[in-house]
Structures are given as structure tokens and as C-alpha cells.
Symmetry: D2
Subunit: 255 residues, 4 copies
């Protein structure tokens, strides 16, 4: 079981809801993924007019924990405003802090992310900051009260996977809160790699919504999270320079 | 469905039966893996005296297709003799040709493997040669009539995974018979990588039997094969140098 | 020519002076490296009593530009104090800001590094901050007036090389000041990789001082920097999935 | 010094002479590379009519050892015929056996390469077979009398570098004749990597002749070979998971 603040989840796959080609496909992919936590950009939601149609309308929101994010924010102030708006809508008191430092890479701004995290924790939010794979920043975020750390594998939507498994591994090793690898995942192989490093979960969106067959990919991701977690728990064999026979190499048949 | 010669399988995971710490664990791991094909060294089987206890005794052999291998052979002649003995035992007419070229790496001898494959195909066996990841040798084995190609990821039992995904990918691209990645797999991540390259299946043994928790790892491998296959079929997103927003970066909430 | 602030260098290799087994070997390695910039920890220097022997005593300091660093600092205040002490000694007005965030990884503290850089720039130093490979932080340091950016390849002294070439490449692409890859380099191959990415230089210490033959390794590093720079300038061939004949494959001899 | 059969060389860089945009550039690149061994396809040489102009005409052939290759051969017979023709021309008794197994990848045919090597050794040639990175085949070639082993890093002209450093390292470890890494090299980084693995030399062509500035790249490759060899001899530092301070982290300045 994955515990983040006061929440508990069985699934370790967090799914983003953006960029699906239709709400039908979105709904089917969410189902196939087995995800319990769905993330979405507060900016996309027509919170000010609840009578307007919106991109979450097909989802049975009672079944999921919603994780609103501050996508689009480029400053502490914007992130705070979006987070407070999300809470006011009573959807959830969890917030994924996402403060972009650069439009080309969409990588997070370290100083602003740390500052916003500190303030939102003080305001009583359950805070999950999206951060780089810098182990020191991850530690600072935890010291600031973050309820989980969400280091990126690579730039959002890039599909480059885990560019620096070593630093992700250092983050996981030192963290006393859950680590959810977020951003850059391209395929199930990336998911399994993250889970085998000991990540507590993964968050992905584009890898499913932009796959050729999003529903099938959602199911692949569900299985990948489970395979990676089981593999981590089961304890892999060591790596060796030479071979190690699985069948005896000596002895003759019937001799 | 995976078709090899006259055989058809639903599972794409082939499991070796060696090196389990007990027959109980072997049985439970085989169950958890969902494997339909079990491989074993003919040399380990007391074929000459069927009344003797043997290491396959706990398995309900009616449920599985047995894939005997010629492990221990270091020449064409030895491989032929073992293959014929296996067929005489009426366990199966499939044979995995494994002719070791060196005791340190247990890598296969290319010339002997090709020669033994040619002869056993002529004798009517369903032949699956264990080979290196050399695309030219893989093609020659297919020309010699091999019913599947089993390129190694890395040395047997090394846990080094896929040392050369590019050549495995070239083998898969050119092959008109199934390609089963065999040897060297260390964890579910390696399995998913092989399946995402388009492999038709994987064969592994040590990664399960020598894991800290073999039964749990067997289940991880089952899910990994499925995740990788689904991921391959679903069509992953392209890799990009920069980011690609999954949430819109423009537009204000409620504006 | 490499220009950093008001300084100009022909050599692109910056060498650290610590951890040599003797001053003789240090001197010979410095000579062999061709380095013009030598870095050292101000803390190691007996600045308060210039009559004491010190670890730079064998070097003809007139031949080199000294780059004092703030190694040992864990806060903005400590870094500032060390930098001002270094300037007071009149050795050089360049300072490498190094504020460690964690004793295990010796990775830099992002927020403190940015703050110290801002202040030291205002005080008129030529500032070279040692930073992570986070492209956003690198940009912020440049905005704060840093005269060069020194992203680490991997933890100091780890010999792990460049853990994230992609982010280093993004830093190099965006930077309008020189980028000197610093920390983690283990061998000449790492140096060449950094230079081929377009780095303006590399700083290393342990890879030379702790090599089995430090003087020979110093010469290897000198050649590696030159090879990598020339390779970068010369424009490498593209990578292709298939072959591209270097000799014509058609036509018969004498036909 | 590098010894191959009865030959001794100071330079460890073997250069191919094909695909230069002009003979002027070819000549300048050969000079800049410092190569003592030049390889060329016998098929390209107008051996049957020595009065015809040819692509080696600008080179002072007295300065170099020529290494003719059998490029274009796809069978044992063709390779033998080309080798004998090369010897009849009295250019050199060394021969690089190159028998292509597939026009798309230009990877070598293992069985034919082994057979041709055996025959040419018996005929008194100094034989350098171009082979895959299969350690068993490398051993068989050495057993057949090959005077050096030339495993490919990746397909000819692909620029993919060393796809399987582990197998190259096993080949180097076991070989009692020189190992020259041949084919696929894209940049100086690949060269240094090969030399640090312990290779006795590298052979390349396209990486220089098709670089944007071939002469500058030739010089880069010369330095890369030297840097890599020195790095190998100097003994690199071990890789560590955590940091290892190059400057002392304790002690205050002036305290």
C-alpha cells in the first residue's frame, strides 16, 4: 500500500488526463490503467462555472482521488493561486506543485518550487512537488514538508525515460516520504526501471494518451508497474562479468 | 499467439527448470510464471532409468510443452547424441541446441551450432538454436531451417541483461521465424526491453530460480512479458529532445 | 581561446591540486596536463600565516591562474567568508563557489549556490559556481551574473563520468557564458564525451591525482581535452541504423 | 609498440583511404592522423593496369604499410582471389579478410571469415580478419592462426560506436594476438572508449573521411588513440556510488 499524507492507494500508477484524442478513449484508458489517482491541470478545468462541460465529465469522480496540478504556473504566486482555487473547488486537498522554469524543456524551477512547497504545506495542503532529479533539492523539499517527492525522469512528454537512474536511486535511498517518478516516461520499460530502483510509484500521461493505442498502452503500464514492484520486492540476481550455468555443465546422460 | 513449428503457445515466457532450491519452490514458481514451455538439460534427466526420481517429478508434465536442451555439449556430435536421446524418450520433438564454446562465458559456438541445427532439422526435429546476437549467424540459422532463433542477451546466468539491443533489433527485423531472447536476463526490466524490441518471447531461468523470492519473481516475469508485449503492440511515443506539454501551458483558470 | 570574465586561456583543462601522494608528483602532473588554471581549496591554504609551508609551494604560481574554491562551505555565509579571504590574499579574484548540500554525495546546494553567486558577482568577483546538471538552475546562475557555469558530471571523486549527457547538452546549448564540466570525471573517455557535447572545458582532480600513474594520466587528460575539442569542431558523422560502405561494394577487381 | 606478425608499428591508428571528397583532403588527413597503416579495398585499385591513375597516387607509399582488404567479397572464394591478387601486386603480404554476410548491415559472415582466415594463414599471409564482437568466434579465429583480431564496434559507417563494450572487453582479455577495433566508430569518444578497454588499436575510415572537416577529425583521432592508450596504461580510478572529496571537507581556514 502506498501512503501519501492521509491518503492510501493500492495502485502505484498515477495517470494524467490530458491530451487524449477523445473522452471515450480517455475513459477507457483510465479504466485499463487501474489508476486510483488522476492528475489534471487546474487551468483546464472550468471551475468558475461548474455547469460548463469539462474534460473530466466522463469519469466517475467518486472512484478516483484527484490530484490537481499547477501546470502553467511560472512563479510562486501563480502556483499558490492555482492551488488555493483547486482547494476552494473542494475536489481534493492534494496539490502537485508544478512551476515551470523554461518553456522549451518545461523543467521545474528549483527555487520557486521549494518556496511554494513550503507555503502550501503551511497552509495545510498535501503537497507533491514536481522536481528535477537533484538529490539535494529533493531533500530540501522533504525538509519543507512535502508529502511525496516527484522527480522527473526527463522533460515532460519527451519520452526519453530515466536520464539519470543513479540520482533517482539516491533520492529514493534518502527519502522518508514516497518518491513518485514523474515526467518523461516513454514506455513500459521505463516504468519497470523506475519501480526496480525502488520508486513508490510513477506518474505518466503522454506515454499513454499519445500512444498509437492508448487503451492497450494503459494496460501495459498497469502491468509494468506491478512487474517492476514485484521485481523490486523479489530481489534480483547480482550482475556478473562471466557466466553462471543454469544447467550443470558436467556429467554425462545416463552415466 | 506464438507459433513455433507445429506448436502454438499463449504464453511468451519460456522458463528453465534448473537451480531452484527445492522442488516445492520450483513448482510454485512455474505456476506463478504462467509458462507453457519448460526447458531442461537432458543431461540432468535420468532418462536411462525412468524409475529414478528426477527433478521434473513435481510438475504435471501434461500441462507443459517440454523443451529439452543440449546443455553440456561442446561439439556437434555431443549435441546430436543428446537430441536423439531426448527424442527417444518421447518427451518432445523440440530441441534447444546449446553448444558451448567456452566454459567461462558459456557463449555458444557459432560454427558447431549452425552445423548441428542443419542436421537436426534434416532429422525432423523442431529446432531452436541458442546463438549469439550476431545478425548474420541468426540469418544462417534460419536458412538452415531453424524453427525459432534464440539469441542471448548476455552470458548465461550473468544477469547483465541485453548487452546489444541494436543487434537483437536487427535480428528481430529480419527474422521470419520467432525470435526468443534467451540468456542473461536479470530482472523484469530486461524482459520488457526485449519484448518492446519486438521479440516473440523470452527464455530465462537463473533470474527466477536464484532471485531472493523466486515465486514472486516468477510472477513479476509473467507480468513483464505481458507488459512488454502490450507496449510493443500499442506503439510507443517518439523520443524528443525537448518537452511536449501534456497540459496546456497557456490560458488562465476561469478566464 | 577560452574566455571567462576578463581572463583568457589556451588550455581547456582545469586541474585540481588536491590528493596527490607527493608534491613531486603533483608538480609533474600539473606540468604534464598543460593546465593553465589550477583550483584549490582555500581551507587548505595557510593564508593566515604566509610563512608556513603549503601544498602549492612547488608550483611556479606565476605560470598559472589560480582558481580558489570554497570547498568545505555548507552555507552562503561560509562561502562568502572564504571567497573574501581568498581575495584578500591577492591570489586571484576568481572564485569557484562550492556549497555542499550533503556530506555523502557532496552535491551542491542549489538555493545557497544561487544566492552566494548573486552576492559575489555584486562584490566584483569573477564567479564560477559548481552546480548540478539542472538546466534551469544553470540558467538562473547565468542570470545572476555567473561568469561560467560548472555543472557536475557526477558526484565529486566518484569516477562515474557524465550521468546525464542530455542535460549537460541542454545547459551548453542555452548558455551564453562558458560551461566547464566539473566533478565525477573518471577517465579520458569522460573528458572526450564532455568536450564533444560542446563543453568549453573540464575541471578534474581525483581522476588524475588518484590514478595509478598520475603523471601519465595527466598527459592522457591533456590529449583527451584536445581530441574532444577538435572532434567537436570537426563535426562528427551522423549515426545510422544500418551500414554505410566505406569501400565500394560493387565492381570486380580488374573488370 | 604494436606488433602484428612480423610488423611493428608505433601508431595504433589504422586509417581507411576510401570516401574522401578529394585526394588533397585524403593526403592531408592521412598526414594529420599519424597513421602508419593504411587500408584500402583491393577492388578499388586498378591492379590489372598499373598505368591507370588510382586513388592512392597522392600518398607516398614508402612511408606507410598497406593493409589491403577484401571488401566486396561475399564468399570464401572471392576473398581468397582478392587476397592472392593483392599479394601478386607485391604491395604487402598483410590482408584484412572482410567477407560480408548481408548488404544492409555489411556485417561479416562468421563461417566464411573463419574458413578464409584458415586458408590464408596456411598460404603464408599475415591475416587480420574483420569479425563480429562474438568472443567465441574471435577465439576460433585466433586458433586458426589469425595475426590480429578485428572485431567491429557496430556496422561499417554507422557511427554507432561500440555497441557491446562488454564482449569487446572479453575478446581483449582472452586474446594473445592484438585486437584492433574496427568499424562503426563515429567520433573520438568511441576511440578512447575502445583504447581504455585495452584494445591494441583502432581502424576507422568514414568517421574521418565523412566528417565535416576530415583533416581536423584525423588529428582528433590521432590524439584520441594516444589519450585512450595512456589512460589505459595509467590505471583509472574506481567507480564509486557516493562522493570522495578531493579537498578536505573539515577544518576551518586559519583555525
Amino acid at each position: 500500500m502506498l501512503k501519501i499524507g492521509k491518503y492510501t492507494f493500492r495502485s502505484r500508477l498515477f495517470l494524467g488526463t490530458g491530451k487524449f484524442s477523445s473522452l471515450d478513449i480517455q475513459q477507457a484508458a483510465v479504466d485499463a490503467s487501474g489508476a486510483e489517482v488522476l492528475t489534471f491541470a487546474v487551468r483546464r478545468l472550468n471551475i468558475s462555472d461548474p455547469n460548463q462541460p469539462n474534460f473530466l465529465e466522463r469519469l466517475d469522480l467518486g472512484k478516483y482521488t484527484l490530484l490537481p496540478n499547477t501546470a502553467g504556473a511560472t512563479s510562486v504566486e501563480e502556483a499558490l493561486r492555482i492551488a488555493r482555487l483547486a482547494r476552494a473547488s473542494k475536489l481534493c486537498d492534494m496539490i502537485k506543485v508544478e512551476i515551470i522554469g523554461d518553456p522549451k524543456t518545461l523543467l521545474p524551477d528549483p527555487v520557486a518550487t521549494l518556496e511554494a512547497t513550503r507555503i502550501l504545506v503551511e497552509e495545510g495542503f498535501t503537497v507533491l512537488p514536481y522536481t528535477s532529479d537533484d538529490p539535494i533539492l529533493a531533500k530540501r523539499l522533504e525538509e519543507a514538508g512535502a508529502h511525496a517527492i516527484m522527480p522527473g525522469g526527463s522533460p515532460i512528454g519527451s519520452g526519453l525515460g530515466l536520464l539519470n537512474p543513479h540520482y533517482l536511486s539516491l533520492i529514493i535511498e534518502q527519502a522518508e516520504v514516497p518518491v513518485i517518478v514523474d515526467a518523461g516516461i516513454g514506455s513500459p520499460a521505463d516504468v519497470v526501471q523506475a519501480m526496480e530502483l525502488g520508486a513508490d510509484g510513477v506518474l505518466l500521461n503522454t506515454a499513454v494518451s499519445q500512444a498509437k493505442d492508448p487503451v492497450r498502452m494503459a494496460r501495459a503500464m498497469k502491468l509494468a508497474v506491478e512487474a517492476g514492484r514485484l521485481g523490486f520486492e523479489a530481489g534480483r540476481i547480482p550482475r556478473k562479468r562471466y557466466a553462471s550455468a543454469s544447467s550443470p555443465q558436467e556429467g554425462l546422460v545416463g552415466s
